[in-house]
Symmetry: C2
Subunit: 708 residues, 2 copies
């Protein structure tokens, strides 16, 4: 689909300049030096020739069509340039020029207008405000980056030109190859999803890496990212995750991105490998593009020095992986073949003066050992070490079945051996910690890949009933639903809620209480009172008919005094629940990614420790279980230290039914069950308090395309 952009046969450059340092000059230099084999058509109203090429004053003067037009003209002339490109029957346009959406409303309007011009003519637009596009497979550097990387398997997409530049620089410095590099700029038309799609289908691309601050369309992103990650590793760095970062991102893009918790949930769902830092982005890309994925979490460490091996062992354990316990055969082999002073446990210390052969012996043993899933090879240079030969010797032992990562310390004069390592497809790290982090990312991705197909269970529920309750409530023009209605909805989705009924008189309240048996709870019912306890509108643990009557009067009088304008619809009399563990179940409708479920232990755990997990709906049974086990407080649920066992399935089932409710009814903007009380298996869990907020718009736009 993006053939004309990535593999054009002819390229026009509007704004081609004779002046060194000008963007329109650098792009032309890059096209020429990169070795682009197709036709190049420079356009500049005031030049007849640039860099030895004939230059047109206007693209409309061009004889025939061009596949791709790159526009580097000043901002004020971009619109005209786009028009001339369209009339020259161009198929794709890259606007490199800045000064659009990133500057505010006027710029956004300009760029939307240009995007519409393109769309009306079936032309795809990259940018504006971008570095351009590079395709090593086509020897095309249509960007103003100075660097042309060699051909390779890593494709890059980035919302920041600076990150593209850094990535190019890194690849060239390390001798790594890249495939496609796309700077997506302001995303007036083409965005991350378009290029993710293109990279999935691109045979040259083995690994996709990207930098994003915001995502244009959440639903589509999840679909395409999931497809991408199923086919090849997708590593993304997302910045703008803190409030300071969000403000900074918004200041330079004009976009306000959603909360990172939703992005994190989307990445998790889609199998995206998330890089937490700039270093990590490069580190992970190198490992993933050069080495196979590990089949497990047991790491062998081979070293010629103690200190770095201790650091590696620390990092492995801290990452949640394991320092492998070598099997007996390996120990025997190593004992026979290594010097007696060598350490043959793991880390395997081949000693400071180890030659390539000794490293090879240790690597072979680890390769053969079925208790080892991956290998880290550490080399500290001394007068006796021969790093380049060692690199070749190690690489020669690779069966390509277990990932092998190198930590060759000593950066100063090690360029030649580093090149050697790259030539042997061994990724190399400046510290043990960074090698382990890359390995951990590979292991996490391998785990995601090996998950069974996602099957979302659908529970038998009374959907029509919820439809009626919501429709009825929407007529009130209030988004906030009361507890009574929220609980009716939950009941229709098979939640247990405490027995209860609204009373309109003290006598009626007493009757209800006697029917549902004591003790009871009484709460005011009013669409105008959101926080009932703030007006003293809740009373717990009422255990006689007389107390019920008194409480009815007390609550009614209190509301009259403390919230005189509130419409009181009665007093809710409800069976009191006391036993079990309190958890919080929730859902919020994320503007980007749709319904997002939340789980946490009640009280302190949610309020103070923020120990919650969030997943995007719809969730599977496995994912519901993961939501529980991801919290730090999970051990409490499993029942330790003599506490009673908790009915875990009551919680995972509830989360799945909330997931179903949220996907069935996108009108629900927010749902909160706090507390949901769960006891030991066999007891009835109970949604003790609940709140639902509807969207202000009765038919949210995402409803139409949420047919996942």
């Amino acid at each position: 689909m993006l053939e004309s952009l990535l593999y054009p046969e002819s390229i026009a450059l509007i704004g081609a300049s004779r002046q060194t340092g000008k963007v329109g000059h650098e792009i032309l230099v890059n096209l020429l030096e990169g070795g682009f084999a197709g036709q190049i058509v420079p356009v500049n109203p005031s030049a007849d020739e640039v860099l030895g090429l004939k230059c047109l004053h206007d693209l409309t003067a061009h004889d025939g069509s061009v596949d791709l037009t790159v526009i580097a003209a000043p901002t004020a002339f971009v619109e005209e340039a786009v028009k001339s490109a369209i009339s020259a029957r161009t198929k794709a346009i890259v606007v490199v020029t800045a000064g659009f959406g990133e500057l505010g409303a006027a710029g956004t309007e300009m760029q939307s207008f240009i995007a519409r011009l393109c769309a009306d003519s079936g032309v795809r637009l990259l940018g504006p405000n971008c570095l351009g596009v590079i395709n090593t497979d086509h020897r095309m550097n249509a960007s103003f980056s100075k660097r042309m990387p060699k051909r390779g398997g890593i494709s890059v997409l980035s919302q920041s030109g600076a990150v593209c530049t850094a990535m190019l620089d890194w690849a060239v410095a390390r001798g790594l190859g890249l495939a496609k590099v796309v700077s997506i700029g302001n995303k007036a038309d083409l965005n991350e999803c378009d290029f993710l799609s293109a990279f999935v289908d691109d045979e040259q691309t083995k690994v996709i890496v990207g930098y994003l601050e915001n995502i244009t369309c959440g639903d589509e992103f999840i679909k395409v990212a999931c497809r991408a990650a199923s086919a090849k590793p997708l590593v993304l760095l997302r910045a703008g995750v803190t409030s300071a970062g969000m403000r900074a991102a918004s200041a330079h893009t004009g976009h306000i991105a959603g909360h990172d918790i939703a992005y994190a949930a989307a990445f998790k769902r889609a199998g995206v490998i998330r890089a937490e830092s700039f270093d990590a982005l490069f580190d992970y890309a190198a490992a993933l593009s050069m080495q196979p994925l590990p089949k497990g979490d047991r790491v062998a460490i081979i070293t010629n020095a103690g200190g770095p091996a201790v650091m590696a062992a620390d990092a492995v354990e801290q990452s949640g992986m394991k320092v492998a316990a070598l099997n007996r055969d390996s120990a025997t082999t190593l004992k026979q073949e290594l010097p007696s002073a060598a350490i043959i446990s793991n880390p395997i210390d081949v000693l400071g003066d180890a030659d390539p052969q000794r490293y090879a012996t240790a690597v072979k043993a680890a390769q053969r050992d079925d208790a080892v899933d991956s290998i880290i090879v550490i080399l500290t240079p001394h007068s006796m070490t021969r790093p380049a030969e060692t690199a070749r010797a190690i690489a020669a032992c690779s069966s390509r079945e277990k990932p092998m990562l190198a930590v060759f310390l000593g950066s100063a004069d090690a360029m030649s051996e580093r090149k050697e390592l790259v030539d042997c497809s061994m990724p190399d790290y400046p510290s043990p910690e960074r090698a382990v982090a890359a390995l951990r990312a590979m292991f996490g991705y391998a785990t995601w890949l090996s998950q069974p197909a996602r099957v979302v269970t659908r529970f038998p529920v009374n959907r029509n009933r919820v439809d009626r309750i919501i429709s009825r409530h929407q007529k009130t023009n209030q988004v906030q639903m009361g507890e009574v209605q929220a609980k009716e909805i939950l009941r229709a989705y098979d939640f247990n809620v405490p027995d209860g009924q609204v009373a309109n008189s003290a006598d009626e309240a007493a009757e209800i209480a006697q029917r549902i048996t004591f003790p009871v709870v009484m709460k005011v019912v009013s669409p105008d009172i959101l926080h009932k306890s703030d007006v003293g509108g809740i009373k717990l643990n009422i255990s006689s008919a007389e107390e019920v009557r008194d409480t009815f009067d007390l609550l009614t009088l209190r509301v009259g005094r403390r919230a005189p304008d509130a419409r009181l619809q009665g007093i809710y009399v409800e069976k009191m629940c006391v036993h079990g563990l309190q958890v919080v179940l929730g859902m919020t409708y994320d503007p980007q990614f749709g319904p997002m479920l939340m789980f946490g232990l009640g009280g302190t755990f949610v309020d103070i420790l923020k120990d919650v997990s969030c997943y995007l709906a719809p969730i599977t049974a496995d994912e519901a279980m993961q939501m529980l086990s991801e919290t730090r407080s999970y051990a409490l649920l499993r029942g330790s230290r003599g506490q009673a066992d908790i009915d875990i399935s009551a919680i995972t089932g509830a989360l799945q039914r909330i997931s179903q409710l949220a996907t069935d009814f996108p009108q629900i903007a927010e749902l909160n069950i706090d507390p949901y009380i769960v006891g030991s298996p066999g007891t009835e869990p109970m949604a003790v308090d609940a709140r639902i907020t509807l969207t202000a718009d009765p038919y949210p736009p995402s409803q139409a395309d949420s047919g996942k």
Copy 2:
């Protein structure tokens, strides 16, 4: 004190070799190439000349004394070499040769013997199994590292030769200067404390960095590290922090180090800046050696590209520092002097094509702005950027009052501007995250430096009473104290414990209960029953005399049945406490660092979330408060969400009294108060349950020298 080792006038090298690649050859090459100006005396039984120098067959043949003898002879000849060095009246010896303590018991014995030989003659010994020693101030490279760094202010001490090598390599590659580099090896005599002391007094040394796996003497370390950190920054990387890392460290050093939690507490107390990774060690050293410390946590970010600035803002907020809100004057200046498209909030975006002048404008504004404490300058290279000039322009604006860190992206061809940055004393980082981490380390150290002098409060207590209780208990030859005695000790140190008394009959129990008023708790008292609840030996909430009598019989019978061999000393009848927040207070005697205090919220917080803080005794009132505020659950103590306020001073006071008890009585190996119940201010806190374990040895060795 280490003058002869660091500034020798003459050096003998036993094991000097003519063969390239041999350690004894490389050291001689390094001494010569490093430019050592004193006398060099090579010794080799089978050579008359090495590298143009006359070679002795035996050091005893040397005419006159030598200050320093470096021994690189094979392991079997080291003892003889040491003897000859001593007879040549050498003042210090470095044994580079390996094959000693790191290989096991026989090696340890050998190295101890050599150390005794030296000690008996008043000779100091470095090593064995080390890289050697470098002193740039003396143009001395008495090591087998290939690298001789330039003169500078960073001194290095390392338990791993590999880390020394990496540090040297890094310094040379980055053009940074070092002062002294000492590889401490097996520490048969000289250890980290000796060199910390030497570096504190060394005028050349501005920053001390080190790598350690274990510490030889905890008490001394804290004293000397504290003195060092008060004078100059001390950055340490400690490896072997996980169980896998500890095993790896023990395999290659033969030492078993203590738990990292004690090291962490010691580092915190001593003001050590802890590096969490290899990268961090270098990154922090660079910033600390080149820039002043920040006076606060407000960071200005100056950039020519959006993406990296967003990453920097994220990193600042995640580190707990703040992205500064610039003051009005800065905004006005920036608006006037920068192009209109520039972003003049913080991060300040001077735009992609920024020239050195534009950077200088922004830097000057941030330097002047009193709402800014530190500055990060990010530069992404484009065709228009002039990195080297920009580096000079930025550095020229520095008032040396606020730290300024650079992030010049693009590593490939940036060596020249990196050199420029180093020449301007601007530390430079490959990613925004790493610059921010270095800044955070500086800020943490500045905060430690600005703390008031430590004053430990001493409370009036009944020390004699505790002395008697402990002496009495020691006669039983049991280390474990019962609850009753533990509470007697606590009472003597002014803790409230519930009223209670041991009963020897049902009637006596009923009498006691009536006196202390109901409800009461009853517990079996036996030196042989550690976990009373395991035998059903506790009963709570007893509210009548009859129930007390029944319980007395029940508990007595149960012990007879379930623990027939246990000596039952009666049944403890105690007032039951119910109200308040449960916290856990503890102390364990760390073999390295002495008494270490622990605080955590009761139950789940300690058991499941491991949300505890640990400080070394004695603690000050401020430190007691820090112990509380460092826990994640601190918000709970402050009383949020309508919970009653907690009497914080009841907890900090208790921690200080435990601190006093632990320093007064090193015989106490472990103390645990769980729960300690605290209510709102004005109520009485209560040590509800307590356990004390004594050391097996009644006079632990550390008692003698714990007179801090």
